[in-house]
Point group: C2
């Protein structure tokens, strides 16, 4: 679907994504925890060309604050490409010369798919605080509607990091005949209590902001201050002690006085992360999606043999050595659960100081491994 | 000074601390970062008997949210003993049958020593947001006034965990002739950027609470909501992934609905920690003391040979295997810096899942080691 042919003079070909499209459904979408969405909009984006037999599709579900814009630039002077541009593109690990790659904004999100900032057709107003609780299972079930509409009967692969990796596991468990292989980066079989605790405090930052008003805030009047602080905390969990040391050390903000609320470079960095996040993210979305992630738990299904199966998808688990949010031990447990039931499974570890965010950074070893796994 | 003699029928003797006393000084106390305190009050508590030659005194500086009440119960039916009762008492690691143990609430604190909730004699009102910035050096210099008033020329030891360990290092650096040995538990040569980042977000929780008012809040009208959330975050950093797993796992609060802000047991626990903390702690104290801890940096002095010296105090560094706030690597670096200049130094590691809070929990191996180190 993309027509970005390489120019002879260009040493590296740029990926031009097909501008996003919207899947629309006027059907009621029932939710796992009860309730329903009266209709559905799913914003998605594709890269590369779908073969006539539709056998080369790879779904790349995004992480907590990601979206459908996985790779490439819409315009040459876009300041940033999509969030996984280092792995998705012509000749890259997920090679868009060969594969048809799909990114879909999750339901509950705020980048075009049905979420708290969407209009509830029953009221004509934004859902806001009335948006129902969702699960990652709901998110995947909605994704599948897009895949089916595209006429794809079986995905070549689902490849995702963090919350995206959890979605890959749900595809494996719920629709194993419809996926050839899954690659799970920086996620485990369940959300650990420590990861829940970090999300819980980040939610409390939002919920104690007086502008939160139980989720019933007007657009532009939400708990931006609380969300920004909550995001600062989340950002700490994405890095590592070593990366903090390397990026900032104990450097101070030039000219800052001892009682300045932003005295250290690391403080200034986190403040900036929080401020830029609130410009693009909705607080109710943050609450819904973090709670969905916290609910993720495949341990019982894995133990009951209802997650992996010998005739199901191949599995590649990828851990990042300094990730303390989803430690490599969780990926090794995932591998053990898969191999225990005869799945063709492997584990790859990226040695990095980057922490959890390592899965978003270029890595030659991972590129080679992922490329080979995708065949 | 204590007259708690053992009753023949009691298998374990209870420690009765001497009820707290106040050191008072009407002299101006200059501060390292500029400014001064016009007068000083230091609340302290002692255990055991000071020998006539005053050679058996051990100072136990407290951690961030601790105080002078180190051990024992004032009354038999006090719900809790002092914060380090497992290590301080008759026949314990720090044996009050042999040593005279001193606990002092730090300046900047809120348990009796001069801090933001104290009355500024110049205005007749509480310092509040006008309380100046302090350093751990100031805290130690103030402590020393109490030690001098007690007539103690040389402390047998300074033993402290976390922020208390940092104070032990300052005693070693600034008053090496006045200390025989230091034991540093769960602290390093400097506050790491990651630890700063965690404190920074916890401060941001306070500072973004509208009731903070730049620190100028009336008693009882402060940023209790922000302080409680900030404390929840701090509490996460005191535990470990393994302890969260063991204490709570993924257990839910009975009857909680999916959109309940407190849904997980771990959430409920952290909320409780936050709520009980704000009943006993002042937000301005939290800001002053966390900033003082963040400023702690002895690396340059250690490198210049101005922290440890061969004729200075002996050093015992004690790390806790699952402590990710002050990882064991920091204690090993401390050991290396001490041994490099010929100090009689040793390292002891407690294997525990308890995280940073491990230093507050009973441990037989540590008891034996500490007991031997204190001679």
């Amino acid at each position: 679907m993309s027509d970005c042919s390489a120019k002879p003079s260009a040493p590296r070909r740029e990926l031009c994504p097909v501008a996003y499209a919207d899947f629309k459904s006027a059907d009621t979408f029932p939710l796992e925890l009860g309730g329903e969405l009266p209709s559905l909009n799913l914003r998605y984006e594709t890269y590369g060309t779908l073969l006539p037999d539709k056998s080369n599709a790879i779904l790349v579900p995004h992480a907590l604050s990601g979206d459908h814009h996985v790779a490439g630039r819409y315009l040459p002077d876009d300041t940033k490409p999509g969030w996984w541009d280092c792995f998705v593109g012509p000749g890259k690990a997920i090679d868009t010369d060969r594969f048809f790659v799909i990114g879909i904004n999750c339901i509950g999100g705020c980048q075009g798919s049905t979420g708290p900032i969407s209009i509830d057709p029953r009221t004509g107003k934004a859902y806001g605080g009335f948006f129902p609780e969702i699960t990652l299972g709901d998110i995947v079930r909605a994704q599948r509607l897009v895949i089916q509409q595209l006429g794809i009967k079986k995905l070549h692969a689902v490849v995702g990091g963090s919350m995206g990796g959890m979605q890959a596991l749900i595809w494996c468990a719920d629709y194993s005949a419809e996926v050839g292989r899954i690659a799970v980066l920086a996620a485990g079989l369940s959300q650990s209590p420590m990861a829940i605790a970090l999300n819980a405090v980040s939610r409390a930052c939002v919920e104690t902001d007086p502008n939160y008003r139980g989720g019933h805030y007007a657009p532009g009047e939400g708990p931006v201050s609380g969300l920004a602080v909550g995001r600062r905390l989340a950002h700490i969990s994405y890095l590592s002690s070593a990366s903090f040391e390397q990026k900032f050390g104990r450097a101070r903000v030039l000219g800052a006085q001892p009682n300045n609320p932003v005295f250290w470079q690391v403080e200034s960095y986190l403040e900036h992360q929080g401020q830029s996040f609130v410009k693009r993210f909705d607080a109710n979305s943050w609450l819904r999606i973090t709670r969905a992630v916290d609910r993720f738990d495949m341990t019982a299904r894995a133990a009951a043999g209802a997650l992996f199966c010998a005739h199901g998808p191949d599995v590649l688990a990828i851990g990042f050595s300094s990730d303390w949010l989803y430690p490599t031990s969780e990926l090794r447990m995932l591998l053990a659960a898969a191999t225990a039931v005869g799945v063709n499974a492997a584990y790859h570890e990226v040695i990095t100081d980057a922490g959890h965010d390592g899965f978003l950074l270029p890595d030659t070893g991972l590129t080679v491994r992922l490329h080979a796994f995708l065949g």
